[in-house]
């Protein structure tokens, strides 16, 4: 049995989290679980810490955290986030999966109740296209010339436990499959769904996509720092795992950014765990004990000490 009484916890929160939720978190951590000490911090701050730890010569970095609920673009200078440069795009994995469910339900098979199955489809089959209109043309072709089309075998939970994408050699381009499996035929959905990260206006969301928001964010910062931010862009979060994401982002930024500024985008080996590993490094940091709020501090001073110490 783990004794939480002596344990310190680092827990992440979204940027600009509401005060009421922050206070509820304090209550849960200290009154219900009674941790010895706690640090509430933004996930991107942990990613930035990890980045500066791996590249000690750099002073500035831009963390792009594209997760389930939304995407945040946050500039960090000397381990402190620059609040005026934070941009939030309300497009995340949830929106992508919901949209994919809707279009599959309309075009092929009713899957509105199968969120997890379609989430798996999205992760297995979707990719970010490098040439959007060219891929659109290829996807419209018939037969074997259509290199974009894939067939996805849906699970039936008796013989097929988990869905999978049929390899191209086994695909039948004309006629029906003889086996009784349920198949989804995906063409333009494969790259149109992740395209929403780059152009939310595709479905009507009036917001900039990730490349434009990065440029907008960096342009709001002092001019002498801008070049440093363009060279240290870090991608974190599950949505960055789409094949082709990093290359497309770099190409789009290259066309938006002035030609004399070099652009460098880093996709770490494990974007989902990058901030967790940053938290691990932070816990071993000698300054850690000054950053946390202990249970005794909270019992004495209440929420205000958390508000002062934690910069959410």
């Amino acid at each position: 049995m783990l004794e939480l009484y002596d344990i310190s916890i680092i827990i992440t929160e979204p940027y600009f989290n509401f005060t009421s939720i922050q206070e509820s978190m304090n209550e849960i951590l200290f009154e219900e679980y009674q941790f010895q000490s706690a640090l509430r911090i933004n996930a991107g701050s942990l990613s930035a810490h990890h980045y500066f730890h791996s590249k000690p010569s750099e002073l500035c970095c831009l963390v792009v955290d594209s997760g389930f609920s939304f995407t945040h673009i946050v500039p960090y200078c000397r381990s402190k986030k620059l609040k005026e440069g934070i941009r939030r795009i309300n497009v995340g994995g949830k929106l992508l999966t919901n949209h994919l469910k809707e279009i599959i339900s309309y075009r092929q098979l009713h899957v509105m109740d199968e969120t997890h199955v379609i989430n798996q489809v999205k992760e297995d089959v979707c990719y970010v296209s490098q040439h959007f209109y060219k891929d659109m043309e290829v996807a419209q072709m018939k037969g074997e010339e259509n290199s974009v089309m894939r067939d996805y075998v849906l699970p039936d939970f008796s013989s097929i436990k988990k869905g999978f994408c049929k390899p191209r050699e086994e695909m039948l381009f004309s006629g029906k499959y003889k086996t009784g499996e349920q198949i989804l035929r995906l063409t333009n959905e494969r790259f149109a769904v992740p395209e929403m990260l780059f152009h939310p206006s595709d479905i009507g969301i009036q917001e900039m996509g990730i490349p434009e928001a990065i440029v907008h964010s960096i342009q709001s910062l002092p001019e002498d720092m801008q070049a440093h931010f363009y060279q240290n862009i870090v991608l974190t979060g599950g949505n960055t795992l789409f094949p082709g994401f990093r290359e497309r982002l770099e190409a789009e930024l290259r066309s938006l950014v002035p030609a004399d500024l070099p652009v460098s985008v880093l996709l770490p080996a494990n974007p989902i765990c990058y901030s967790w590993e940053g938290g691990k490094l932070l816990a071993h940091n000698p300054d850690y004990d000054e950053m946390v709020v202990t249970r005794d501090d909270y019992e004495e001073n209440g929420h205000c000490i958390c508000e002062e110490n934690f910069d959410i």
Partner: protein
């Protein structure tokens, strides 16, 4: 061989109701809000063993049952007690009185580039607009499908 007569998509003027801009905007907002909904559904894949080397670790089957029951009742309990949804919390924050930058100011502004339009039936780039509801389509066949299935099927 009987040649099927191509169904004309043109209709008599006055026979179809044309939605005005406000209704079209309301429909669009409705669709976008539907995209934001959380789906609290059970994960059918969760009972599968995870892939990779951890699959060989012994499963803690004895402690799983009471934990599952506890989690279910806890979730329902929370949902009934804390019925405030996101918009309520946002209003309570009273962000207009707080200094910038805050949650609202961090939202990305609209893109200066024009939006791209896609056929609501097949998803390929579209060039035409349905006169009644404003949905985009790419070809007359998609227009027929759209008229039969989705156009004005649920009215606001």
């Amino acid at each position: 061989m009987v040649l099927e007569k191509k169904v004309s998509a043109r209709v008599e003027a006055g026979q179809r109701r044309v939605l005005d801009e406000a209704t079209r905007q309301r429909r669009l907002t409705r669709q976008l809000e539907a995209l934001e909904k959380d789906n609290f559904q059970d994960d059918p894949l969760s009972s599968l063993p995870p892939p990779g080397p951890t699959a060989r670790l012994p499963a803690f089957s004895e402690t799983e049952e009471p934990e599952k029951k506890k989690r279910k009742t806890r979730g329902d309990h929370f949902k009934q007690r804390f019925r405030k949804n996101f918009t309520t919390l946002l209003e309570e924050e009273n962000l207009s009185e707080k200094p910038e930058p805050n949650y609202l100011s961090a939202a990305a502004p609209p893109s200066p580039l024009p939006p791209r339009h896609f056929c609501c039936v097949c998803g390929f780039p579209s060039h035409y607009t349905c006169t009644t509801c404003g949905g985009r389509y790419c070809s007359s066949r998609c227009l027929c499908t759209h008229r039969e299935t989705r156009c004005l099927k649920w009215t606001l």
